[in-house]
Amino acid sequence: MKRNRLAEIMLGLGGILTSAAFFMTFFWAPATVYPDGRVDFAQKIFYFHVPVAEASFLVFFFTAFYSIRFLMTRKRIYDTKARIATEVTLFFVLLTMATGILWTRVEWNVWWQWEPRLTTYFILTLLVIAYFVLRNSVEDEEKRAVYAAAFGILAFIDAPISFFITRWLNSIHPIVFGGGESSGLEPPMLITFIVAQVGMLMLGYAFYQLRLREEELNERLEALKIELGD
């Protein structure tokens, strides 16, 4: 039985990098200090909130990518891949939402704010959930795959909107990179962030591969059961 070595290596490396980033966050990266001397401890959430969010966008891109591949080739494997990518997206989206809400509570004093980034990300969450609701409500296998692919492609259009909207509109959501003079990070902060980001992307890849392997095993099992059944 062939094992996916790359996925396991990525899982290990991702685990090490995210753990390292966790310690760097609290013991190395300098705390952000407001002009009036108060310390912004909640800024520490940034080092994991943003990597998880970026990972969710990136994995969702693969939903659209494999959906297009599926529509072009009609091979079932691409449908499975698109579905699994969306599952991993949902997982990252939920983590982003949870950490974001906690950060919002500290920095903005409310749990939720209808602000462009939050709103579009909330819409993204609904779209990802709707993708699975759609899958569950179609019985015919081919129809399910085609419909899910079409919806996956349409839904992905919201991802770039959500990503860029803080740069297009007046948003109170911080723009850390390339957002004017107050944006940007000191080197130790940037390095911590990059370590967390790379680690998180590796984990995303590993999660995707692991789920894919599980799905393959499941299919082989079903096939064997049918073979034994008659």
Binding site: A31, V39, A42, L102, L224, L228
Partner: protein, 57 residues
Amino acid sequence: MTDLYAAVIPQAPYVIGAYGIIWLGLLGFVFMVFNRIGRLEKELRVLEESVERRAKS
């Protein structure tokens, strides 16, 4: 130093909460998938053996 504590203590539960959710989420995902893969592999082995037995007989 007191400034530091004054800022950290009220914000700490949220930061701990955020990191807790992330770690539990990531570990939970890995654990769940490995668990299921392990179970599937075991079932698969049993079935494959019975297929082989059948082929021999």
